[in-house]
Amino acid sequence: MTSIGTGYDLSNSVFSPDGRNFQVEYAVKAVENGGTAIGIRCKDGIVLALEKLVTSKLLKSGANKRIATVDRNMGIVSSGLLPDGRHFVSRARDEASSWRNLYKAPIPTSSLADRMGSYVQAYTLYSSVRPFGVTAIIGGWDSEAELPVDGQVGAGPGVGSGGKKDGAKHGGPYLYMIEPSGLYWGYYGAATGKGRQIAKSELEKLNLSEGELTLEEGVKEAARIIYIAHDDNKDKEFELEMTWISSTTGPTKGRHEDVPKELREEAERLAKKALEGDDEDEEEEKMQE
């Protein structure tokens, strides 16, 4: 990097003369070495998937989950420095809980993303701290149903004021990605980590903005994308970790849960098949040449 020796990369919160914050850029580099993580916003829910690189054969398979639940209806998957990711999740849980304490209702996904964005951004401002070495994907389903206030015991008056609007729609699937700078956007499909480039180009092919992809299709696509994005040459072993959140009428009833074993294994089988299919095509092409 050109900055070496210029001194503008030594302290956090210091701009270089051409307007860059090198510590933040180095944090992004840390993320680029992490296992691929993706999130897909489907018509009726959210899928989060992670390529969990197995660093030792002594680790129990299926244990040490990396996709975390926040409140009941949100999930966070991150790529980069693992301990930073866990602190990020811990903070998100505290935010969700303090929101409930104040408003007696679950935090909307957009508000959680906003608060976490501000939190991450604050770590780019001071010389006593370093930026987060993670890019985190936050997925959530904001309930479309009329939720009772926490601790509510009765229905209250059936008529009169309350400001309820007939036919007003609210809730649905939400997906955000927060980068080490604190920058966050809402996405149809988000990808980060080593295989993000391949994953992003695969996500673009899904035409997610049309809102036609169903949750089950999303699960299969997510598995396929993680398998495609995985680099066999550099990393041999990985585990696919997948969670999902459906509508309140769907399979998870608005909660963030692991994708059931059968469905995940089916998705993995299809993903492997799709990969093999690609290889065969390539070999056939070579033969013809």
């Binding site: 244990a63 989950k65 975390a68 009941r72 409930r100 926490d150 601790g151 509510q152 015991v153 009765g154």
Partner: protein, 261 residues
């Protein structure tokens, strides 16, 4: 020297003179917490049967003797194996409900752990109640925790505002402790008899108790919630109307009131 516990931690009267309590007084007097409940729910009744537990409480919250709120749900489902029934102060019940809600959220961060069962929840709630009474700031409730224990066996126990815990095959709080408990004990006198009681029998028994309580408890009403907890999960009906109930006999009563003959 006085070794009685009452004298512990205090200056000796024979040396320092009589103890001056004013040292601990502020201008407004000593700190005071809740002295009595305000909006209250009456009895909760529950009974074990061979596959689970049935629990019921009416939907009334009284403000003193005024029947103030008539759609109050006093049975709170915690998860698929536990229901908590609340007697006593309704705002304290709401506090506990939110406490249990936050506990449930924290418990479900990990998908691999076993969910909390009724026995775990009773232990937890009893500790909360005892802590608060030890702070001289009790939660003015009497709780029945109904559900299944770690071995999926029926579990029923109570915890009250003093932190007292008690367990029995049938339990009732408040007025029900006097009126419903003896009725239920006729059918389920001890732990051994639980295995002979079917779900239908237990539900019938508890419904009968709700009727007796409605007739005799002036802080009760004829609409109630009833829940059964079995291995199949929680079946909660929050809008049951009392059946086969009538005040027609009241006209026959003579000897007081406004009748002339």
């Amino acid at each position: 020297m006085n070794h009685l516990p009452q004298a512990w931690g205090r200056p000796r009267d024979d040396i320092y003179g009589a103890y001056d309590h004013a040292h601990f007084q502020t201008a407004a007097g000593p700190n005071q917490h809740t002295q009595s409940p305000i909006v209250t729910g009456t009895s909760v009744v529950a009974a074990k049967f061979k596959d689970g537990v049935v629990i019921a409480a009416d939907n009334l919250a009284s403000y003193g003797s005024l029947a103030r709120f008539t759609d109050v749900k006093r049975l709170r489902k915690f998860n698929e194996t536990v229901v908590v029934g609340f007697g006593g102060d309704v705002s304290d019940m709401q506090y506990l409900d939110r406490l249990l809600n936050s506990l449930d959220i924290r418990e479900n961060y990990s998908s691999t752990d076993d969910p909390l069962n009724a026995k775990n929840l009773h232990t937890y709630l009893a500790k909360v109640m005892y802590k608060r009474r030890s702070d001289f700031n009790p939660l003015w409730n009497h709780l029945l925790i109904a559900g299944l224990d770690g071995e999926s066996k029926p579990f029923l126990a109570s915890a009250d505002l003093l932190g007292t815990t008690f367990s029995s095959p049938t339990l009732a709080t408040g007025f029900g402790a006097h009126l419903a408990q003896p009725i239920m004990r006729r059918t389920i006198p001890d732990e051994n008899s639980v295995k002979d009681v079917s779900k239908e029998d237990a539900v019938k028994l508890v419904k009968e108790c709700m009727k007796v309580l409605f007739y005799r408890d002036a802080r009760s009403m004829d609409k109630y919630s009833i829940a059964t907890i079995t291995k199949e999960g929680v079946e909660l009906d929050e809008n049951v109307q009392l059946e086969n109930q009538s005040w027609a006999f009241a006209e026959q009563i003579r000897g007081y009131g406004t009748q002339t003959a």
